[in-house]
């Protein structure tokens, strides 16, 4: 919402499927190989060649549909006809009016549900590199085409126009990426082009008004670009409308360096794709058994993982609200199993969540490899008061580097013996003696002044004392 204007955003996300081979031939589906080495008559569109559908690609498309709560339907392929040098046959084989996945939804971490209109299969094009100053086809000296990507399987996921601001669009893209990775369908690497986002953006005066004329923005290569482009485009459209001009329906190109969108083509220049049923392929009709088998192989999706943690927290909405960021972080980083395992072993969920979101998350890659048993043992020691928070964090740092180990042994090696009750009592007594005024007020009931003594004890013990034990001793002295 910018000065009384409301945004309407729908996203089209292209995701390259992580298959061994391409959608319609046996060529390797591999990013970064020597150009034009993973090619054959089929993906080069040579005369006489014919496509044969890759079953694994269909299964991954079904996995995406399942993860997005879609209806998985009998589907067909069409030809989308247009001339372009990286389009080997000068048509793209894509699903059109009978896509494999329809009518699903995606739940954002804040609980908002975005409707998914469809998630259909299609083939990728080759990749053109334009040599010359502009880097684009207009004004290029010459162009090079790499057909390694030609025929790589894609699923295009089309959201309903349910998103209302750039932050929500970013959250959607982030969540969708997590789902694609979790389902095993894609590596979700936007920087390698395995996930590409186009945004349809329009603005209107009121949330109840009909949708305004939209523009489609292409070339969004990161979640950050997506947010920037939407904000720029909304402002551009608002400025037009406020100046009494109209928004032209256009396809626009996001220029990351300049930070603005530019006209790629207008509605009048839009292609007539002349879609018709691909006569070289037969319909795909997944039976219930096949659908069930695909669903069975699907692990927990991010939303389910978040729900699992929320349920463990289980202390009412306030407790959950305050920890939403921690929950989102551990799920995003794929560390939620650490929390679940620790909780199952009796570690308080809040402690497990905090250590995982704040400390383990600093090196998520190491944390994903960390020996679960060692992690649970460490948190159990901390929960029991055998290690202070500071000590526990220090041991964890070592565990992450080593990938595991015996936390008790590491603690001993660091000299983190739990203080005896006697020596703790002596240290607390010293602290009390050093702060007579604070002690008097604490004795009169100012509980928060306990921090003064805890601070002194921590300083004296170089952080090795257990804060809870110190408070317990203070309360004992107060009587």
């Amino acid at each position: 919402m910018t000065d009384g204007w409301h945004l309407v955003i729908g996203l089209e996300v292209h995701c390259e499927l992580r298959t061994e081979t391409k959608l319609f031939c046996g060529c390797r589906n591999m990013f970064g190989d020597e150009p034009n080495t993973n090619v054959c008559p089929v993906c080069l569109g040579l005369p006489g060649s014919l496509p044969v559908l890759n079953q694994r690609a269909v299964e991954l498309a079904m996995a995406i549909g399942t993860a997005l709560h879609c209806d998985i339907r009998p589907s067909t392929f069409h030809r989308k006809n247009y001339f372009y040098p990286d389009q080997a046959k000068d048509y793209q084989i894509s699903q059109y009016d009978e896509p494999i996945n329809v009518d699903g939804w995606l739940e954002l971490p804040d609980g908002f549900r975005v409707r998914i209109e469809r998630a259909h299969m299609e083939e990728d094009t080759g990749k053109t590199t334009h040599a010359g100053a502009s880097g684009r086809i207009h004004g290029a000296d010459y162009s090079l085409v790499d057909y390694n990507r030609s025929g790589v399987p894609l699923v295009e996921i089309v959201s309903a126009p349910d998103l209302r601001d750039a932050a929500q669009a970013r959250a959607y893209a982030t969540e969708l990426r997590a789902i694609l990775v979790a389902s095993g369908a894609s590596d979700g690497k936007m920087e390698e082009g395995s996930m590409r986002v186009d945004a349809n953006v329009s603005v209107r005066r009121s949330p109840d008004a009909p949708f305004g004329t939209r523009c489609e923005i292409k070339n969004l290569n990161s979640v950050r670009s997506l947010g920037r482009a939407i904000e720029y485009e909304a402002e551009r459209q608002i400025a037009l409308l406020e100046a009494g001009e109209a928004v032209d329906q256009q396809t626009r190109h996001w220029d990351e360096t300049a930070g603005r969108t530019e006209t790629l083509r207008s509605k009048e220049e839009a292609y007539d794709y002349r879609y018709f049923r691909e006569p070289d392929l037969v319909p795909v009709v997944p039976d219930p058994e096949w659908k069930a088998a695909v669903a069975d192989t699907l692990g927990l999706m991010p939303a389910q993982r978040r729900a699992r943690l929320t349920e463990l927290l289980g202390q009412g909405a306030d407790a959950v609200d305050g920890r939403r960021d921690q929950v989102a972080t551990v799920v995003d980083l794929g560390l939620d199993d650490l929390v679940v395992e620790a909780a199952a072993a009796g570690v308080p969920v809040t402690l497990a969540l905090a250590r995982t979101a704040n400390e383990a998350a600093t090196d998520a890659e190491a944390a994903r490899r960390l020996d679960l048993g060692a992690y649970v043992a460490l948190l159990t020691m901390e929960a029991a008061g055998s290690l202070s928070a500071t000590q526990s964090k220090a041991v964890l740092a070592d565990l992450l580097v080593a990938g595991g180990g015996d936390p008790a042994a590491i603690a001993r090696a660091k000299g983190f013996e739990a203080m005896s009750t006697d020596s703790l009592a002596a240290t607390v007594a010293e602290a009390v003696a050093a702060e007579p005024d604070a002690w008097a007020r604490y004795r009169d009931g100012e509980d928060k002044l306990a921090q003064v003594f805890v601070g002194r004890v921590m300083k004296a013990t170089r952080g090795q004392a257990n804060g809870k034990a110190v408070v317990a001793e203070l309360q004992r002295l107060r009587g």
């Binding site: 005369p47 006489g48 044969v52 080997a88 000068d90 007539d272 006569p279």
Partner: protein, 485 residues
Amino acid sequence: MTAAPTATEVASAVRSGTVRAASVLEGHLAAIDAAEAGIHAFNLVTREQARNDAAAVDAAVDAGHDPGLLAGVPVALKDNLCTRGVPTTCSSAILAGWRPPYDATVVTRLRRAGAVVVGKTNMDEFAMGSSTETSATGPTRNPHDLGRVPGGSSGGSAAAVAAGFAPIALGSDTGGSIRQPAALCGVVGMKPTYGTVSRYGLVAFASSLDQVGPFARSVADAALCFDVIGGHDEADSTSLNRPTPRVLSVLDDGVEGMTVGVLAEFLDGADPVVVARARAAAEALAAAGARVEEVSVPEVALALSAYYLIAPAEASSNLARYDGVRFGLRVDADDTVAMNTATRSAGFGAEVKRRIMLGTYALSAGYMDAYYGKALRVRTLIIEGFARAYQRCDVLLGPTTPTTAFPLGAKVGDPLSMYLSDVCTIPTNLAGHPAISVPFGTDDAGLPVGVQLLAPALAESTLFRAAAVVEAAAPDAPGRGGGTT
């Protein structure tokens, strides 16, 4: 022309070691040398490769191996079938110089059965035509009368078989492109059920209609070839994954108890001599024990109109890839779009351009449903019409073409009259059914007349049984091999 041996005779003699494949080949190469200049059946004669292949067949026989069902049989391939390392042009300038890196599945199967490929035959450009006159390499002439067309689009293959250049040739049939030239050249030509012969490596014209099939001088040879090239192919998703009918073994089973329907719509408008020949063929079937009746499938009258929307629509998409970027002709220009345009303007002939424009229009936004969509609905009606007829009949019979071979140039200026020469063959393609054209006598000028038999999907066995009976009763049986003296 002398009566050349049939494929059955050649294969049998080569397999038993009584005749060398090399000598069979040299005999056919000599026939080509003698008459090809006047006929122009071939775009390319692959002499050296053929000699190597024949030598390999002989070596296999010498080593005690069986080279296969077509051992040493020379075959000619329509120039829209991909041959590894050998130019495949579709008789179009746009594919000049292109050598496919792979063999079509049917070519692989022929070679595996011991066949010896002698060359690539002339055709209407991209199989669009009914006279082989739209070829960029010039027309093929009818061996029976060099002033007349051989039919098309597989005119080169039909002429090659009729002229004795090869006992067997392969063609492709999208709207009659095997059967019509077979009829006009006096040879057997068969279009299989859609999906029984692989299209992998057949350069597409209209993918939902195209089917590869044999030309031969006898029904038995056509059956032999069909048995070799038919069967499931994983490389073609429209290839039926089910047992393919085997026809050679049922050829002599006769037509006793069969019901043959003479298709009234095919008789309407055909030349009287052609109608008379078709009726005579029906009588022959009746004499052999079939029940013959007249049937009507009124929907077939709509076939031509539907075909000329569906086939060009698919073609407009199939032919988009000839853009000068990856293979074949490139005419350079200032930018990519200009290069595409210049290449396609120079590389395609008038008939191909006409059909690309027709098809592009038929699929355009706003016209799609009125043209392409309606044509698809008509196609369904035609399938239903045939289904009704096949409730009563085992096979249908009619002329293959309304006329015998017409003079070169007679119809090139009038596309519609050219299109009408396929009026009896197109309905079968729309239905996906099998059909065969069998020579059955001549007209008063001595030009061959073809009788067409049609059967339901996958009823090739029935079709060939009836064809064998018609062939045996044909007025000039058994001495076919070209009618000129």
